[in-house]
Symmetry: D2
Subunit: 367 residues, 4 copies
């Protein structure tokens, strides 16, 4: 049977998204573990898994499980992913891969060549990479059509934590980690910008704010509501990032625009059917049309142009590519633990820059 | 005669815009001076002035002239504006008011209470303030409807200097000043953000780039093509600014978005008919409709909603308010030399921040 | 087992869409039949069905099959749906339900109360009904918030048949039916307008064109490339429809705007995340946010606002509701054979109006 | 003196727009007549005319007046324009040129070759022709780039008469004419579609509604609030028009989209800075940039791209071209009395089609 056996750890919304994608990829939905056996039983039934596990250990001991999807609160990711690797499983681990860069580094090393889990597929759902027009943007940079990239311009804005009445486990560093807004959503933005440009952030200056020091269930909130960043890249570009979870009217608005000497390329995650291509002589709106996209973009097209692909479709693409890797393929653009480590390092640098008031180096190799 | 007598210094595109606005305001277009008597004669005929002057001195000696519009290259602004004030004229001086903050400070002091030219009207065309929906945004902050402002998010992108073949006197610090992109367009962005929020930039971190060190007529270009800024405000907000003259497909795209605890407010200068108002419960597109706007916005409406007002209309509003001030009124939101000085100081701080790699203080009083 | 056993007839793109939706709904994908056993085997393997049938008869004889999805060329729909009903199956039949209104009427009668297949679930995928914001629009009409509907304004534009080199079985009346563009896509538009407004078309005037009388594989094309319609509704509204498969740059652009005395409501199928709500005092963009939508809209939300739902998500919603009906529920807004009959009648009227140059009555009861 | 002497008849909003345009064109604003000497005095002072006339006769007797702008209620247009021509003046007459086609025909004949006023400039402000991107659309049709035009798709929607409390002289046929919505705004739409395509409407089917039979000051309203039209053109295209003054949220939304075999071209009067050009391979947004437009479009550009031109700018362009014609030039695309006659005929046909329920012929020569 080519169909991988899949188990999920966690029973929240991301567990739903992962299990939909696993089903769409025709995996076997073997089982689910959660914080308690009761929750596991409930979630397993709700999401259509064959069984519930009483514990993660029980899950990891199940030979029917090939791939483990970790969808628990951030602070648990590293240990659970490590345990899954130790049990010989392939792993999909929600971002942030770890709340401390050292943990992320250890995980990345495990699956790197020579590591104890070398050869194992270990991915992190930077799913916005799986919108076909994002691949098209990347292809235009790689082909030279966009020219040398000069500026980056990104924002990721949400409003679900707009008032002090809004709360979540992410607010607490003990469960969410040192950084909240940047780790949770800013990391997507940086991953996407580095992915599209093939360039890397070299150093950052930043400032951050915790506007609401008290929230419904947390008395002394320290994690940031918003971060503003100026950056330089290895390739010589400059840019800005604004990340906020307190921006009224913005639900999940990841927007990026890069300007190259040939073209500007803009992507809006909330309207992922079109790539905005700015040229001096006019603007081109490139539709998500397999006939017109670069091969690596076209391969992710699942419906004809004009029949919108959405968030779940992107997630399905990520999971399908992960399972292809499990089967031995090497799909282009699959975000792996090394990418999760990169995100952790950039997050750390942004936090440090904001807290020290200095530029912080975060150089890394170009991809 | 209530109609002011107007003269223009300079004969380029901005002279055209100023003279159209003067005509729309029913001023008397008395005369024009330029870099040579020939150019003055040509421009005066082309733009419909009654006469050309052989020199600025001749212009300033003409008692028929009440208001002098300075539209020459940046490095000339301060001296010409000062001469006009010394000659007893009211002055409209193109931005930047001066290429050095000290010069701007001297000019602002001249017209401040107790200054040698106190009582004289002295304005700087931060004309984007004159879009009715910008006033509406400001009114929503002032009324408290938008809540406490948490983040700023601005960009001003153009592409007219995209290649090394593109050139202009602004490229040369000797005529354009130390800063190019930020002084020329970034200053508009900061003015608008401070105007709308009533808040002020407190400090900035920045980086800048001169991507094209050679241009058609300039061998060693030092002025910046692009600047990226992170900022904090007196009021506690954080934000980013990206300013570039090398962004393909962007013609004159000033865009700003501020997020308050109640509303986000976004304005796009290229589509000035609508204010985007983000609320958690949905987005409101507020049309430029006098029936629905705050009084200070409604007073700048000159055509019914759906009959677009444009750039020249905003400029006309600025000039009409300037002339109203000349006649003794005190129109709300008129950008005066103090605002030109503010822009010079912010520009200097941004350049310093970029060159030193440190945060630079630029605090000022809230308006 | 609550999971319905599902079989598909046909192996083209729509078979893919139906089978994805069946899988997402956790049905058992029992088997597939196509035009030949070879094609069936290929499609069954490709789409993940347990088996292929050599013929429709074999499929219908399989007791494991509860629901048959008919996705074959239009001219086959009626007979295959009828055979499936005769075999005691529930049926999902692609639109048009039949290429002749009489056939559609016979099918609708079969499943109507007192019909031979009464009680059987029999649906037609007017899937655009399953975008949450479409339900929100409908709720606003039903609640009276939008007021009395005065005008309809709809278009459905595609470009996949733009040149004579483009061809398809739909071009030939023998396989596609008398009407091409209107039956295929115009019917969606009318269904949606009647669904949202609860009103019905009363009569139509129309004109149509076959711009390309020859296509790659068809020598004398008679089916229309484009149709323009003026209409009156039972409720007193007037409106226009433009339907074309030769509109460059439009991929699948179903757009509708209705104006009521209280609100205008506009929906663009290619951007289904937002409902445009026009009011005299401004425009509201209502996001697909479960917290803010009417209950029947909110129940179709599967991802948080800002995580776009797309075409497949809408299709999934339709199939999930169909299977809920199979299990005995009565989901709101499920498009049934009666709706397929309605579409056939409107299509016939539009064709007749265009061919006779007169207004044609197509009155029906309000829903 | 090359500057024409201009007088305006009427003192309402359109008088303001005309006089601004005359001033921008550097005409002499000689005088103004209105319904009473008092109103004339008030308007002349307000709008900056040198004098007020006690009557139209007095105005027409003034030799300083070269051009008369007629901006009175519709029913007065024909007689006043005719009187102005009889007095030897050039005339700009607001649309509709006449409320009866016969009157429009008589006026058009007067200025036609061989007419009593042959050689006189006589124009009608179909001002949307003066948006540069409209000229660009026209140029793309004329050059063949857009291919053969297949479909028209137009709407003109407003909301200023949305409730029965809203009223205006246009509501009354005695002052406004038989048709209200179509004559007032639908005529713009048809003029623009015929202007852009170079094609002409051949016949129309239509329906119309008067939703509010009573308004604040009118007891039995007969003129239409909304009209829906299906049309065929001489060139073989088909299309629809929806015209309404009761569409909430639409202020002055003239929108047209034509689909040719090569390109679709769409224009939105409320966003006149961009031409939407649809191609199968993607969409091009053509900016109002003189460097990139066809010559007849570029000549109407008055500010650089990204500095929006608006409604008054278009009006200024129309008046400037009218005055150029007065001085003997023959500007391309100037809407003359023949175009006003054409609009009157199409309006009549639409009304007849709606009232008779039949297709009405309105064929005319291609331009």
């Amino acid at each position: 049977d080519e169909r991988p056996g899949v188990a999920v750890v966690g029973g929240g919304f991301m567990a739903t998204v992962h299990s939909r994608a696993a089903r769409a990829a025709r995996a076997r939905l073997v089982g689910l573990a959660s914080s308690t056996p009761e929750r596991a039983a409930d979630a397993a039934a709700r999401l259509g898994f064959d069984r519930a596990y009483a514990s993660l250990d029980e899950l990891l001991a199940d030979d029917a499980v090939d791939v483990v999807h970790v969808t628990t609160p951030n602070a648990l990711h590293a240990a659970q992913a490590e345990a899954a690797l130790a049990a010989g499983k392939h792993v999909v681990c929600e971002k942030p891969l770890a709340t401390a860069p050292d943990d992320a580094a250890r995980l990345a090393a495990l699956v790197a060549p020579g590591g104890a889990a070398a050869g194992r597929t270990a991915t992190v759902p930077f799913v916005y990479r799986f919108h076909p027009v994002v691949r098209e943007a990347r292809a235009r940079v790689r082909s030279g059509e966009a020219g040398t990239v000069l500026t980056w311009h990104g924002s990721y804005l949400q409003d679900w934590l707009l008032t002090s009445a809004d709360d979540d486990w992410r607010v607490d560093p003990a469960t969410g980690g040192r950084s909240r807004a940047f780790a949770d959503i800013g990391s997507h933005l940086v991953d996407l910008l580095e992915f599209v440009t093939g360039d890397r952030v070299r150093r950052v200056a930043a400032t951050k704010r915790t506007f609401f020091s008290e929230r419904a269930r947390h008395a002394a909130v320290s994690t940031e509501d918003a971060v503003a960043v100026t950056l330089e890249t290895e390739g010589g570009a400059v840019g800005t990032l604004l990340v906020s979870q307190v921006a009224p009217g913005r639900k999940n608005r990841l927007h990026l625009e890069i300007a190259g000497t040939g073209e500007s390329l803009a992507f809006d995650q909330e309207q992922p059917e079109t790539l905005w291509v700015g040229r001096r002589a006019g603007t081109l709106l490139v539709p998500r049309d397999a006939d017109q996209l670069a091969p690596d973009a076209a391969r992710l097209v699942t419906t004809p142009a004009g029949h919108p692909q959405g968030y779940q479709d992107a997630f399905d693409g990520f999971v399908a590519d992960t399972y292809a890797a499990v089967r031995g393929a090497d799909p282009e653009g699959l975000p792996r633990f090394a990418d999760g480590l990169r995100a952790a390092r950039v997050t750390e640098a942004v936090m440090d820059a904001a807290e020290t008031g200095t530029w912080i180096d975060v150089s890394g190799e170009k991809r």
